[in-house]
Amino acid sequence: MITPVDDFLAAAVRTATPLALAALGECITERGGVINIGLEGAIICGALAATIAAGTVGGPLGVTAGFTAGALAGVVVTLLFALFTVYLRADQIITGTAITLLSLGFTGLVYKTVYGTTGVGLTIPTIGDVPIPGLSQLPLVGRALFAQPVITYALYAIVPFLAWWFVRTHAGLALRATGESPDAALAAGIQPRTVQALAVLAGGAFAGVAGATLVLAQSGTFVEGMSAGKGFIAIAIVVLGRWTPLGVAGAALLFGGASALQYLFQSLGWREVPYQLFLALPYVLTLLVLARASARSQAPAALARRQLTVG
């Protein structure tokens, strides 16, 4: 028996999945002291790479190929970002803006070259929901949490792992130290630049997988600009989640829930209410939650430390 609540919760988790992936990656990046506004670009590149790889390989293997290609594409784009921001120490925000513009254009170009004007349609292999026997029968959360695609289950492992990794490995300590004080990290024998570059690339891989998820676990197709601002939302989610993996996962779920609520409200057929009110709901809700729980103090101290000189 599937209730509307089940559907709503399942939609919340589905919507949260790519956001959580991208935001966890950005969380790693920001913990290293870099803010990657080019996340949107990495997502769309991941989506296209996943489309091409999965479509070319085909079948269940295609899905694996798609996720791999998505991650790789995310790494390649952010490599450019890392080159500019970590190596040249260019301003992170302008560079990120340019990278996003570049990626949106580049994917459009490649898409048209590969698929012509007819597009890819719905021919890309996708991963379906894999209900976990028993667990998926649990009341309320069963379907929402345990009848999802494998990539969502991957998050169940990634989130606690990252949370553990941040505080219980020396690499995690090094990452956090770099984001807090590159000077201190350097004095402790850490190479802050290497750490930052790796953090940026890891963020790119996650964003690429998020893009692949949009294609392979959700829509089954590619559309120009289908990232549709998810990169920016992911950055907001990192702040909302106070730079901790668990917080980020919770924030993504909150935003996913607010979006699912929006979809639900519109499906109720209240035609008197302007639909824009529903569309604004996730953003308003986020603001309200933020106002309840301030996040100011948790930001990595050296985040986005600007190389900028004021003139």
């Binding site: 919507t15 829509s219 120009e224 519109q266 499906s267 035609r271 639909y275």
Partner: protein, 320 residues
Amino acid sequence: GGEQTAATSDALRVALLTPGPISDQAWNGGAYEGLMAIRDSLGANVSHIQTKTPAEFEENFRQYGAQGYRMVVGHGFEFQDAAARVAPDYPGTIFICTSGDMLGPNLSGMNFAFEEASFQAGMIAARLSTSGVIGAIAGTELPPVRASFTAFERGAKLIRPDIRLLVAYLGTWDDVAAGKEQALALIARGADVVFQNADAAGLGIFAAAKEKNVLTFGANADQNEIAPDHIVGSIVINWPRVMLTVAREVQDSAYRGTLYQFGMRRNMVSLVLNPRFESRIPADLRAQVDSVGTAIVEGRFHDMDDILQPADRPARQNAP
């Protein structure tokens, strides 16, 4: 982007401005297809630009006008204010705005009676629905979208008066994931036929229909092959014909500054049924749908007269 063909210097020059990407296989892609037909059939020199913001419309219209383009199509109502401002300055250029109602010596609105085919789609949807709930999703609420949804609902109610239509808007035309989620939400509320007009995001709606095994319709172009088992039919604008019709008038100097109203009457808009569904549509329904179609073509059908479509009102004249 538009391709430039090597044409003689006095060749017809035609430009198209679209608000979205021509890869959407729908509204924008269709118009581009029409542009290509003009190039191929009339040997015209063509140009295309994707431009979304009103600030840029006037500049592009002027540039085309100044370069001597004979016909410039702004693809959407939002282009018409800018076109109206530019048209008087370039009398040698014909400005056409789709979904518009402005009129001038060299300015025409061009409308598609999308609602006619939508009405028919609604009739079929009502019969194919077992739940008695149907849905409709669009990118944003635009005049042709609203007219089409109203007609879809009327058509459905004609067949099944107690049917319920759930309408939702995505606020975007290219977020496929949002399209899919919204469709899933409607399906979860019982909708088993989901009508759509969401351009690129519509692909997400098709994906949801496939996944949940419900029915849907294509829009703007023949999309039946995208999800052959789930798309009942597509509301197709015959873009090559539409665009060629106007372009020929321009080329032959037969343009008279009228509002173009393209509908089922000249077979410019039609409901193209997916052959796989022919057998699933009962004969009596089929007959009923066809008779509505005939009535529309013959001008005897008045159930939609009150649905505000620009062309149904006296055309606004372009103020000098």
